[in-house]
Symmetry: C3
C-alpha cells in the first residue's frame, strides 16, 4: 500500500495558522506520510529568511509575544525550529512562482528549506494524489 | 461500501466560519457520513462553555447582532443549537491537546459535546481515511 | 479512469484568496479536471455583479490598488477576467441558498457564471467524490 499523503496550500502567515500547518506537516512526516507544502502570498512571505520570527497571531496580535513565551514555557518548538524540523524530515516545500514575481521575492531571499519553485500545475499534481488536502 | 467521511480542522472562531463548519457537519451527519471535528486555537475557544454566544463575524464585526437577528428571522438555528444538534447526531468532536495547554483550557471548561482530547496523530488518522478534509 | 476533481468552498472575498481560488480552478479545468465552487457568505458577495472589482487584500488592504497595478504589470489576469475564464472552461459555480436568503441576494444580482443554487447536500455530493477539497 502506498504511503498516505498530505498537500497543504500555505496562504496565511499568522503565527497560529503557521504553527498549525507545520505541526500537521511534522506529524505527518513522522508517520511516514508524503507531505507537500505549496507557499502562496503571505504564506511565502513567512518563508523569507528571518520571516518566521516576525509573524503575529491572526487575532489579538499584540499578545503575540505572550503566546511565544507561553509556547516556550510549555516546551513547544518555535515556528523557526518547526520549519527546520520539517525540512529535515523531508517535507517538500514549493514556492509559488507567481507570488515570487508579484511580491518581488527572488529565490535567494527564501530560506533553504524551500527547494522547489512551481506553479498551479505542480500543486494540482501533488494534491490530486493526496489523501488530505488543506488550504490554510 | 464504507460510509463517506469528512474531517474538519476548526481553527477559526468567527460566527460565519463556525456556522459554515457546523452546517457542513450537521448536513454530513444527516446523510450518514462519519464526521470528525478537531478544534485548535480560536476554534477551541468557541467550544468553551458559553463561548458560542460570544463569537463575532469575521468581517463587519459590529453587524454581528444584526446577522444573528436576521438568522433568527429566517429560522436558521443558532450556533449553540447547531453544536448541540451535531453532538446528538454523533459528530465526533476532539479538542487539540496542545491548544488546551497553551490556552489554559482544562477539560471541564469545554462544552460536553467535546468527548475526546487528541493530538496531531488523532487528526491524521481520521483525515487520512476521509473523503473530505477541510481547514476552516 | 475518471477525471480528477476538485471542490472548493469559497467563503472569503479577499483579493488574494479569491485570486488563489480562481487560479486553482482555472488550472484544474485546463488539466481536464471537474471543478465545483460553492460560494458562501463573503465569497458569494464577491460574485455579485460588479463585486469582483471591489474586493481588497486580506492584509495591508490599503495596498490593494498597488497589488492590482503590479498584477497588471506582470500580465496576471484580473479577478473579473479569471472568473469569466473559469465560466468558459466549465467550472461549476453554485450559490449557497442560505447565504442568498440571509444576505438578501437574489439570483438576478449574481453574475451569470453562477448557474446553480444549492444547499449543503449539493456541496457534500460533489465534495464526497472529489480528489481535492478546499475551504478558502
Amino acid at each position: 500500500m502506498a504511503a498516505k499523503s498530505m498537500t497543504i496550500v500555505m496562504h496565511a502567515d499568522d503565527l497560529d495558522k503557521s504553527m498549525a500547518a507545520f505541526i500537521l506537516a511534522a506529524g505527518a512526516a513522522a508517520k511516514g506520510m508524503d507531505v507537500t507544502m505549496f507557499f502562496t502570498f503571505w504564506g511565502l512571505m513567512a518563508m523569507k529568511k528571518g520571516g518566521a520570527d516576525k509573524v503575529k497571531l491572526s487575532k489579538f496580535r499584540m499578545f503575540t509575544g505572550f503566546m511565544k513565551s507561553t509556547m516556550k514555557k510549555h516546551n513547544v518548538a518555535t515556528l523557526d525550529e518547526l520549519i527546520k524540523d520539517c525540512g529535515e524530515m523531508g517535507v517538500r516545500m514549493v514556492a509559488c512562482e507567481m507570488t515570487m514575481e508579484l511580491m518581488n521575492t527572488p529565490k535567494e531571499s527564501l530560506r533553504s528549506e524551500i527547494t522547489e519553485i512551481g506553479g498551479v500545475g505542480t500543486y494540482l499534481d501533488a494534491a490530486g494524489e493526496s489523501n488530505i488536502t488543506l488550504f490554510i
